[in-house]
Symmetry: C2
Subunit: 233 residues, 2 copies
């Protein structure tokens, strides 16, 4: 039903930057929902991206970051956080201009082993760096606090649980909240404020990693519970 | 009932270091539960501590950090995170030796305005610094992810929600989990592992502060929800 809705009312052109787990999972889900998706990688014709496009039918294509960014009305940054700025520079500021850029990346630095540390944190964030570097993109940070399978299928985790959004453009943020519900079935979206709140969600990586260790499953999330209940958006 | 239990079976001598909101709230609750509590501050006879002791009956006393640390079988670090090491040095390594030191502090740095940043994070934590500095104390980090009124009364937040513990001494950690349940009524305690997991819980301060902004109430917490349910301790 959601698929038909999306096909009928909302079939969009979407550029997904990054061919890792998150990028492939999101791109595949968006295709299943009836959108046209171009998967972008450093160079057009990368083996992973070609394979993905071949497996996903006529609405799926692949190209360099710049091609995918030009193609999409809405863009996803699914590149590795430590390489995101470089990837987006390769995508080109002109191709990001005026567009919603959904940033799901975390600046995880594995160079000192595991658990990874954050390459940016506390007084800055990847979300903010991207917004500063590309002031004409409408950066919305979201989905970075859950595993990529949960991103596109929150029903994998039972009961109520929350996803966070933040960004400087209120309209873009509201639109993304709507898309999270329509595309993926998120039921509760908490608006944390401007893009500097990306510091807060990116710094949830350490607790995510520890909980993964403690729980032994990838499909989990948090529910925010408050005195007097709280109104979900 | 819990009060009687604590009085009958468990009346303990507890040293609470720090006379701020967290220290006073925890100390007052521990008195109400029938324990003997000494509230410690930089200098014996501080106005706040004297006032607290006078208001809390014969089981309440106050003194310098060293006196409170000597007094307690179990200790709470409720000092400001940026001053905790200094306070504990003043308490004296000999007075911490072999004891459970429940560290509820967060290294929040307000010197650059609000929201505060963390003075230690990512590759280290306050919990670890304390454990390194006082290797013979049994540091258990917990309660630092909720407001102090919720620390001692989790029922302020409706339904199920979780508190985290971490530390290097398994026995101390299990004992603290037990005390959290017995004293304060915590029902779900998640063990995140050794003291380095303090990085994860201390780095939840930014999301706590943003959620406080978004929700407008102090009494909230998170519930961890996982595929297939999860077993609470």
């Amino acid at each position: 039903m959601r698929m038909d809705e999306a096909k009928g009312e909302e079939g969009m052109k979407i550029g997904v930057l990054g061919t890792g787990m998150a990028g492939a999972t999101i791109a595949t889900k968006l295709i299943a929902l009836g959108n046209e998706v171009m998967l972008g990688s450093r160079n057009a014709g990368s083996e992973k991206a070609v394979k993905w496009a071949q497996a996903n039918g006529a609405n799926a294509s692949q190209g360099a970051y710049a091609q995918a960014a030009r193609f999409g009305e809405v863009l996803f940054n699914c590149t590795q956080g430590t390489a995101s700025i470089e990837a987006l520079q390769s995508a080109g500021a002109d191709n990001l201009k005026g567009k919603i850029l959904i940033d799901v990346a975390n600046p995880l630095d594995f160079s000192h082993g595991t658990p990874p540390t954050l390459s940016i944190c506390n007084t800055d964030s990847l979300g903010e760096q991207i917004q500063r570097k590309f002031p004409e993109a409408k950066v919305v940070k979201t989905l970075n606090t859950v595993n990529c399978e949960v991103m596109v299928n929150p029903a994998l985790v039972p009961g109520d649980h929350d996803i966070f959004v933040c960004g400087n453009d209120a309209g873009a943020k509201a639109r993304v909240a709507e898309l999270l519900k329509q595309w993926f079935g998120w039921r509760s979206v908490i608006d944390l404020g401007d893009i500097s709140a990306a510091r807060a969600t990116e710094q949830m990586m350490p607790i995510w990693l520890r909980l993964y260790g403690a729980l032994g499953v990838l499909h989990f999330n948090v529910r925010v519970v408050a005195e007097g209940g709280r109104s979900s958006q």
